[in-house]
């Protein structure tokens, strides 16, 4: 007897649960819970703080704000950043000054911790929001952040 009543209460509570799923089945529109990625690429906007990859913005004169102080390299916990730097003559003052040759960033190693960006005294590096980083060859994940021929903006000191 209890076997039959067990089946009965089982079905009853199952239907109670299905009242919830039934409600959503009837009322939900497409995309209520899931996003239609990648069809929505054109409208998909990431939050502005989203950590996609580290980039170095350049202005219209191909100038960036990196002084080559290496603070980001020191702050990085896993060696994702390598700064290759040199000393040269500053044209404005005629004094010897450190400048970067290459700001190398290994996206494949980066854990997106944000410590380098916090450490940078001149805000030379920022987060970009792109997240589609897959490639067929991991060497493509090693990037040089400063563009060829770029130089540091005048007046930027750390």
């Amino acid at each position: 007897m209890s076997y039959i009543s067990d089946i009965y209460t089982g079905i009853k509570t199952l239907l109670t649960g299905m009242s919830v799923t039934g409600k959503y089945f009837l009322t939900s529109r497409k995309g209520a819970i899931t996003q239609q990625y990648p069809d929505n690429r054109s409208t998909l906007k990431m939050f502005e703080r989203f950590r996609g990859e580290v980039v170095m913005p350049h202005d219209e004169n191909n100038e960036h704000q990196c002084t080559g102080c290496q603070k980001c390299e020191l702050a990085c916990p896993n060696g994702s950043i390598e700064i290759i730097w040199d000393r040269g003559i500053d044209e404005a003052t005629g004094k010897k000054k450190k400048f970067i040759d290459k700001h190398i960033y290994h996206l494949g190693l980066c854990t997106m911790c944000g410590l380098c960006i916090e450490a940078c005294p001149t805000d030379a590096i920022v987060w970009a929001q792109n997240f589609e980083n897959s490639t067929y060859d991991r060497t493509q994940l090693t990037k040089v952040l400063n563009r060829p021929g770029s130089k540091v903006k005048a007046g930027v000191e750390d």
Binding site: G17, F47, R49, F50, M112, L115
Partner: protein
């Protein structure tokens, strides 16, 4: 080995099977060596080490700011609370007095993390016992919290938003509104969880009286979090050793005395209600002020030993630092809740069926990287 089958007199024989490391119910790379007789479990031996990354050793190499981001990778569902644990240890050692704003924001974020973690657990719990639908409902609500985190911290899982001395940057202007929206939304959705799963007789039959853990055993195995509280062991760190802003909110410690799988389930559902009440008490009056206090660029802890514990979504996480006055810890030890909770699995599973093992394991809420580190 020769197997002899005596006619008309079936001999039962114990044998081994492997559960995992790729079994869906072990939630990660956990390998369980089961000794079973028919379907009755005789022994469960967890075999660890598949995802060991020597985080504790890496901490000895890193500066105190860098350690924080490694703790994201332990219990990734409570990453915010793990970060907080390390930061609190360092701040206590430096005797930094934090602004009220930092404390309140940390508490709100911790409770949001707890809800998000329990949402995921609830979905997976249902899935483990055969109710796939719950998975989508749990993830729907967790997604809203993930959006809040993404907007404020910039990440969805590995937050690294706490730094020794406060927060990396201030909360996003939308944070308060979004959190309020979420609470209003979740208040209508959490009762649905009960309708969908808790009240279901089939689910109750799978969980009631299964995997019973007595209070004495909970204490001697070092159980903490919802596992301990499901057995009536009052072990909430937030209540007994308040940190951050937990001393200025009122909440009840969810306690059940049955000690079975269903009790642990109910404790977690109750904790989601309590977490919502904590957030509601704080969200309207986040104090104005700085979001961090200045620390030296190179943090050196004074010589000595420091310990701080916090309540993650899984239980008590302890951080123990020995410093010899340099910029790295001499030794850093994490007391992770998952490890102790896993240790009692053999105790509660022996004598049950394999299906019961899956149900009890679901309410232990194991996160394997937290166990292996």
């Amino acid at each position: 080995m020769e197997t002899t089958l005596v006619k008309s007199n079936f001999k039962s024989e114990e044998y081994f099977i492997n559960m995992g490391p790729q079994h869906p119910a072990t939630h990660g790379v956990l390998r369980l060596l089961l000794t079973i007789d028919g379907e009755i479990i005789k022994k469960v031996e967890p075999d660890l080490g598949y995802i060991h990354r020597s985080i504790e050793k890496m901490c000895e190499r890193d500066s105190y700011q860098q350690i924080v981001h490694l703790t994201d990778r332990m219990d990734y569902l409570s990453s915010h609370i793990n970060n907080e644990a390390v930061c609190l240890t360092v701040e206590n050692a430096l005797q930094l007095e934090l602004p009220d704003r930092v404390k309140v924001i940390r508490t709100i974020l911790s409770e949001l993390t707890r809800i998000a973690s329990h949402c995921l657990w609830w979905g997976v719990m249902g899935m483990d016992v055969g109710a796939l639908t719950t998975y989508f409902y749990g993830f729907r609500d967790r997604e809203m919290i993930n959006d809040i985190f993404e907007e404020t911290c910039g990440a969805r899982l590995t937050m690294n938003y706490n730094i020794p001395g406060g927060l990396m940057f201030d909360i996003h202007p939308n944070f308060v509104q979004r959190t309020k929206d979420f609470i209003a939304h979740f208040k209508t959705k959490l009762p649905e969880y009960d309708t969908l799963l808790t009240g279901n007789v089939i689910f109750q039959k799978r969980t009631k009286g299964v995997g019973v853990l007595s209070k004495e055993d909970a204490i001697s195995f070092g159980a903490s979090g919802p596992v301990g509280r499901g057995s009536g062991y009052s072990c909430d760190v937030r209540k007994h050793h308040p940190y951050s802003a937990y001393d200025r909110v009122t909440f009840n410690e969810a306690l059940k005395t049955e000690g079975d799988t269903f009790a642990r389930y109910q404790v977690r559902i109750q904790e989601m209600w309590e977490a919502m009440s904590i957030i509601e008490q704080l969200i309207d009056n986040i104090p104005e002020g700085e979001h961090k206090v200045a620390t030296n660029a190179v943090i050196k802890l004074p010589k000595g030993e420091y310990y701080q514990k916090v309540e993650t979504a899984r239980g008590e996480l302890g951080v123990y630092i020995i410093s010899i006055g340099t910029k790295n810890p001499y030794r850093l030890k994490f007391r992770s809740p998952g490890f102790s909770n896993l240790s009692l699995l053999n105790h509660i599973a022996v004598g049950g069926k394999i299906g019961d093992l899956v149900a009890s394991m679901a309410t232990l809420d194991l996160v394997i990287p937290d166990i292996d580190r």
